[in-house]
Symmetry: C2
Subunit: 345 residues, 2 copies
Amino acid sequence: MPELRRGPIRDQWVIIAPERAKRPSDYKSSASGDPSSQAPANCPFCPGNESMTPPTIAEAPDGKGSWRVRVIPNKFPALQTYDELGRAAVHGMFDRMNGVGDHEVVIETPDHDLELPDLDIEQLKIIVDMYVERLRQLMARPASRYVLLFKNHGREAGASLLHPHAQIIATPIVPLEVRTQLNTARTYYERKERCLFCDVMLGELEARHRIVDDRDDFVVWTPYASRFPFELLIVPRKHAHDFTLISDEDRYGLARTLKRTLTRLRTLLGDVPYNFVLQTAPNPIPRPGKPGYWTTLQYDYHWRLEIIPRLTKVAGFEWGTGFYINPMPPEQAAQYLRETPDDPL
Amino acid sequence: MPELRRGPIRDQWVIIAPERAKRPSDYKSSASGDPSSQAPANCPFCPGNESMTPPTIAEAPDGKGSWRVRVIPNKFPALQTYDELGRAAVHGMFDRMNGVGDHEVVIETPDHDLELPDLDIEQLKIIVDMYVERLRQLMARPASRYVLLFKNHGREAGASLLHPHAQIIATPIVPLEVRTQLNTARTYYERKERCLFCDVMLGELEARHRIVDDRDDFVVWTPYASRFPFELLIVPRKHAHDFTLISDEDRYGLARTLKRTLTRLRTLLGDVPYNFVLQTAPNPIPRPGKPGYWTTLQYDYHWRLEIIPRLTKVAGFEWGTGFYINPMPPEQAAQYLRETPDDPL
């Protein structure tokens, strides 16, 4: 049963998830985890193999008796549903709580061998619809304080299965990284009465040299202090704090922007491993009288998709200092990407 | 020329180091970076190949005309010596400064094929002596605010050369991760008049179930909120804020403890990639009138060596939330390690 732990030195929660553990000897044979060895016949995410996974949570039907997008519980969840949070101090120094939460997998296409940039806009729109639907459902659960949508593509980026899929984890706390960004946005808004992200975006649109794409009401750029080569932000041009309130038109815009951006990355860098992460305002569930909880919709936030290609290794310096060495200036990365065809639709 | 950058959203500096850049097409052929393809004849860290590296900074002679430990500048430094910090605001939103600093490599043995646990205690003692000497030298430089000693072992841990070596980077700011831990230690001390790390260590020694080793005046344990499987701390039992003040006796103690600990890790997990990172008090250089700088020796800190085996991938969830999923409970990890022979000396 998963457990959340926090020590006195770092203000970070850690999920201890022994269900996902291996024996020490299993680490010696690293090849066993190679996702490229999976054939579609053994792939639990392929149509016909539905019995290899836990039961379907939601699906988008294809009108011919099968599905176009399918959502299932993660078989080895990082967090699980419990009755109780079980918050407690351990020996006074340590904090723990039960690993309460949800962990779902969004299978993004029935086709084992396709990748997001290969899909047509209709399919990508259905995927975005499903992201929205699942985030809404999970945000409404009582124990859920934050819901993170993310995608690990390729073994180096942490994927254990090749078949295209994203994951959603609902956590019982607002994670430190998110809280820090929420606080930064709020502080800025209180001083300027403007959204921090809108202001950064306007500056980027004026300067142009880090802009990669600027159509369909979305702006794509490489951040000024990019931690990784070809790190990218996809940001809605109109201020919007909550991804789940996205309009139908913007869902199409996001689908097109995502397709163009991932196409460029793949054309320029090959089948690069990457993570993407959706940052959006935390769950709008009021918890009066519970200090430390977010009790309001945070309108001063701005949702966005972060894409992190995994081309450099995080090593001792990064672990020891929390800051990153990036050999690729973002201005140069943006230029490379701008000069790469986006496979126009 | 390297540059430090900070954006308005994350309070983290990033080093943009274009000297270390590759062209986009280079990322497509990932095999080229495989350190296992290096033969000793082409290894710049092997004796006889000294001309392949920048000139020696310091060395420990072997008494036969060669060296036992050698220190050189990193050929592709993350930070470099400059005249000016060049702190500036860019467009009001962004912070930048020149990549001022130092980046050195400590070649830990002339022998290409040995690893730290293979070395005898005398050699390990000489390595510790050299760590201390270089940290002292770099801490004394005017622009230097923090000095980080770290080691990347294995390709997965970020090593580009196989020959055993550590690295030292002197930075012109105290990194956020370090500052957070310094502040936590200070706040605790102000409330309790005791060292946070000493208190955690006493608790661990009482509970025993996360203790791996407890000899030679060093304590080795798996932290309560371990982020990674088999994450380890090596901590001096007697309170000590500054690694460079370590006694001769404790240098031998650290050499023996390091050898036992790395031997156990290798016996249990094979040649596991790992990072180690030395956390110690920041440079004791007073900067009166410069707010934000540490102006005192921080006696309430406690130096320690963190060992991070790289058995799990950092993926989308970790990037998005800043917290980690660890499938190996630290109590279980400690038990595995305790039951593994430490190759007693």
